[in-house]
């Protein structure tokens, strides 16, 4: 097994870090940069910023946030939310992002995945999928969980891999912000069907949820929001949980 990555997910509604439940009812938590810095000190493996409003005005403040972050946070940074074109991606990378996460624009124009992968490399193209249980399948949602696409999320993930995505950010809309644990069946369904890395997102509320996502779901990385922002666990506690379950993780300091 490769080293499982611990990712801090910060949803931003400029200038604030926000957190909702099932992507609604947002609460302001503070300066996202300060949170990111704290997680960096704790030894987080990656930072993921998502602009949940994604208006043009917001875009500039998000780019400023990335620029500020690269000054003293030296881990990979992924940026998502409202990126619609190659130019948007180029701007995010120029600001210091390493990867971009794309959902809405990819649903509307799947070719964008291929174009981003070809121009900037597949490692840079994170296919963001927001999945919601819909009777007997998971449906892919967009516009931050507000609109449904009719696409089967598992099929969409497979298609994304074919189109050139480097990894998949898989968010369960049902579990997001609930702290009830990841949707393990969803994670399993996707990890079994693609050979690119899958980041489990949405629902972590305690340490056990982390090890479940990896050991039962097969997740290659775990995105944590609520559980870190509210201080329910620290990055190091997650790492200790990994070690207890012989899940390989990066150990800062060797």
């Amino acid at each position: 097994m490769r080293n499982v990555r611990l990712i801090a997910r910060l949803d931003v509604k400029a200038p604030n870090l926000v957190k909702g439940i099932q992507m609604e009812g947002l609460r302001k938590l503070g300066d996202p940069y300060e949170f990111a810095k704290e997680y960096y000190k704790q030894g987080i493996d990656e930072i993921l910023y998502t602009d949940i409003v994604a208006s043009l005005y917001e875009r500039n403040s998000l780019l400023d946030l990335i620029k500020k972050t690269t000054r003293d946070i030296f881990v990979p940074i992924t940026v998502g939310g409202g990126l619609r074109s190659l130019d948007d991606v180029a701007a995010a990378l120029r600001a210091g992002a390493d990867k971009v996460a794309i959902n809405t624009a990819a649903i509307k124009n799947p070719k964008l995945i291929t174009e981003v992968a070809r121009r900037f490399g597949s490692q840079c193209m994170v296919h963001s999928i927001q999945a919601k249980q819909n009777r007997d399948y998971w449906e892919a949602y967009y516009d931050n969980g507000r609109e449904h696409s009719g696409l089967d999320a598992v099929e969409w993930a497979k298609r994304g891999e074919e189109l050139g995505s480097g990894e998949i950010l898989l968010t369960s809309v049902d579990r997001e912000g609930t702290a009830k644990g990841f949707d393990l069946d969803l994670i399993k369904a996707v990890t079994k069907n693609v050979s690119i890395p899958v980041i489990a997102s949405g629902g972590m509320g305690e340490l056990k949820h982390f090890s479940d996502a990896v050991l039962q779901g097969g997740a290659d990385a775990v995105a944590m929001a609520h559980v870190l922002h509210y201080g329910l666990v620290t990055v190091d506690e997650v790492r200790q949980q990994a070690i207890r379950h012989t899940i390989p993780v990066r150990i800062p300091g060797g």
Binding site: D45, D72, V75, P76, G96, D98, S122, Q123, G254
Partner: protein, 214 residues
Amino acid sequence: MSGVVVIDYGMGNLLSVKRGIEACDFNVEIAADPEKIANADRLILPGVGAFKDGMNELQERGQVEAIQKFVLTERPFLGICLGMQMLMSESEEHGIHQGLGLFSGKVVDIPRKNTDGVQIRKTPHIGWSALKHSSSRKDWKNTILQDVPENEYFYFVHSFMAVPEDVDNTLAVCEYEGLNITACVQKSNIMGCQFHPEKSGESGLMILNRFLSI
């Protein structure tokens, strides 16, 4: 002389490399001008992307000759990720392409399948891997890795890997699903890291710091 220069050839996350150098309290300039490249105190070739595109971009800007000129001065030169791969003589990434040839060696695909055709590893190799001494090394004294303890983790993102001919040039490898991948090379003042020191937390900064004090 013009201090530390990061080569701008239109590819890669240049800003992060610049920030990493700044965090080590050095002034740094991102430059495309061949003159500036040839006359730098220290030169960094960063990069993420395809080998062929990278070489083409360097060529179009007249930077290949500038790099060759710089190397003759024996001042410190660091290639990062694609920048390290381009130090090799050639790459098999989507056809055979000539590299800078500062190291004899090839860049090859990271195999995903074993000899029975079963998938055993995913690519790209994304994530943190621990550095180990290569078969030719017992320690990293007087190298760019001098300050790094063995088994420290660094951030990798790549689908191809460099295989230098002379094993003595390989300082460190990392193990990825049973495969030893060249992680760091050095031949006198020419150095290369497959991983991203500018994205590898405080231990990455230690490597940049060492490079800046050579």
